[in-house]
Symmetry: C2
Subunit: 396 residues, 2 copies
């Protein structure tokens, strides 16, 4: 087959032409400034034009202002030191791997993203899960971090490598009580890692106030940046361990690289996605201040959806985040006798230029209203209700 | 300080307005198709619009054609399986870490990039260096891979985790004899990892012909792609080990993720840089066929430079790559009495719209002519000669 098909790859969905509710995409739509930066720094190693010869490291570059961006980023998150790495999951892996040893335990919430489990596994460690309350709330029982940490101590004689909490989970969009976990961790001297992939960058998050030692986040999920970008922010104390510099020496040549940060393998995101993260930052700092309005829109939307026969918002109420998980026995009932089965809902939404609900799903589906205008939120809610009525579901 | 400065970050160097000789940047200039793809897939997780629900993995996505791109990429490199990861160094780390155990030896050439040493260190392994011939050729003594592998066996009873060869090094642009190393590795049953960061994507490289088990490369260095993009290609046998899937299970919930590739932490480059790599691929496949002309230009340029008093090309001659390292006692002599010291050379080149030589350097500097037209190569050579004459150096 000809390779020509690779040349003109296109998206089906364009953010400016449709309404995209994809739960992982709302916080990653670029700002106009980011779009300009993307093109400006598109070429390969374009950020390295002015790499300082004596400290050749991404975080030392001043033109463009990578160094001062990292400083502002740490400050914004209420922590001491920040680095941009290639993914949130990579930040998680680096933190765990640099903090602990093979076979150690990581205490984590049972709603953690799959990549957190993989980071633990790749670090050759073990998980100890903190339960959640299950259907329909799925609330993580944060007070149980205490007993899980004690279980690890009883079993191994040592505290766990770290305790990880998913600030807002990807399944129900529940906001967990990070401060409570921070207090428990502090009492036991266990490093507290907060996965803020769905929170930092869209809502106010202050690491110090929450008692966080390490905060990881995702630029392409919540900071109006291109993929792949991860954020690794931490206290000074953690930076000593997580960002320790290289000590290896060539056995023959004596070559050594003491300026390079080992866990990062030296430099990380050397181009376009970092540029978008930097260029979006002034807008991100502003947008988190408008979080309460985002919550209002989300709550309004959820209440409209619950007017549809058999439709229920799962997770903790009221919504503390814009990611929502609906259970809809109503739409499911329709799908059972529709010739397109569950795809009817996708088709109907598509006709109305609404994208991002996983094709085929009706009984359970997720969406995210972050960054939609009030008009768009109302339009989407009306669309769902209209579709429901079209197929004979009751709408109260 | 106001955050506004982050909004309009700009490069000083624009590839279409100047001639950029930066040794790490020539192969990473985007193609027009890549520039379009960059904008198209700029938003966060834009490649994930059509992630297949049953095998939610980047390499399974068919719209855009990630899956078939990976297949074509492997084929192009003469190997069985390919993945795009976030950096060449990450590919190196993943390969070593998944292949070996803590404390194992990695045999590598003494011209390896610093990131190779860091990958070994992060994998908690040790290096055993293969010597090079030193000044002025710095030729890696590839035949000594044999004795270094035997040293490891004598010392530990086991073969090394892997042997790593830097196909073309970043210091002198020497092309190492990969086939010779491949044969030695095969004899000892040692996995052979080729670091093709400076070769694959600009010149023809066939893994199978060279006896390579794993090939790593850098999209932003040599594939006309945005950073960060790394290539990890391998034989089917290596893929069984390096791409093994997750086995972790939640102790409480039993959650497991058997479809996810552990070493990659699941998905990798989920956006813009991968899109540029895909869109540039048809042109990359074509451009490697024109490598001999790139070599002609490089050799012509080197011979012109050597006409300047006290200027000498270091590394193996004739040039087998477009990255060059010059020693110039002539320009150095000028710098000693110039009020701008070594910066005079940078200033003079800048006046002529030539960028990419590290500011301040004269005695030793590196550059890369890859992708410049004959006219540009001649213009740059004339500029250097003109500057030499201006400062009283002899030009023969």
């Amino acid at each position: 087959m000809s390779l020509e098909r690779f040349r003109e790859i296109r998206r089906e969905v364009h953010e400016d032409e449709v309404i995209n509710l994809n739960p992982i995409q709302r916080g990653g739509v670029l700002t106009p400034a980011a779009r300009r930066a993307l093109v400006e720094f598109g070429d390969g190693y374009s950020i390295c034009d002015r790499c300082p010869p004596k400290t050749p490291r991404l975080d030392m570059i001043e033109r463009p202002p990578v160094k001062s961006f990292y400083e502002e980023l740490a400050k914004f998150l209420g922590l001491d030191v920040a680095r941009v790495v290639t993914r949130c999951r990579e930040a998680m892996f680096i933190a765990l791997y640099m903090l602990g040893d093979r076979g150690g335990y990581v205490v984590l919430d049972s709603l953690a993203h799959y990549s957190t489990y993989l980071a633990v596994e790749l670090a050759r460690m073990k998980v100890k899960e903190v339960p959640n309350t299950g259907y329909p709330e799925f609330r993580v029982e944060v007070e149980k971090y205490k007993e899980k940490i004690e279980e690890v101590i009883d079993e191994t004689g040592d505290p766990p490598v770290a305790a990880v909490l998913t600030h807002v989970d990807s399944y129900y969009g529940n906001l967990a009580d990070a401060k409570a976990v921070g207090e428990i961790c502090k009492r036991y001297g266990v490093p507290f890692i907060l996965n803020a992939a769905y929170t930092a960058g869209v809502m106010p998050v202050n690491g110090k106030e929450l008692g966080v030692d390490v905060l990881v986040s995702s630029g392409h999920k919540s900071w109006a940046a291109s993929a792949p970008t991860g954020i690794l922010a931490m206290t000074e104390e953690m930076a000593q361990r997580i960002l320790k510099t290289s000590e290896i020496k060539g056995d023959l040549t004596g070559r050594s690289f003491p300026v390079k940060e080992l866990g990062l393998l030296g430099c990380t995101v050397m181009g376009a996605p970092l540029a978008t993260l930097i260029a979006s930052f002034p807008d991100v700092v502003e947008r988190v201040k408008r979080w309460s309005e985002e919550l209002e829109k989300a709550r309004h939307f959820a209440s409209e959806m619950e007017k549809i026969e058999g439709t229920r918002l799962l997770g903790v109420k009221p919504k503390m985040h814009t990611l929502m998980h609906f259970e809809s026995m109503g739409f499911y009932k329709v799908s059972q006798s529709h010739k397109r089965r569950g795809f009817f809902l996708y088709d109907e939404l598509k006709k109305r230029k609404i994208y991002g609900i996983q094709p085929g799903l009706t009984k359970h589906f997720k969406l995210n209203t972050y960054g939609l205008s009030w008009d768009q939120v109302r339009y989407v809610a009306s669309a769902f209700k209209e579709i429901a009525e079209k197929y004979g579901l009751e709408v109260v």
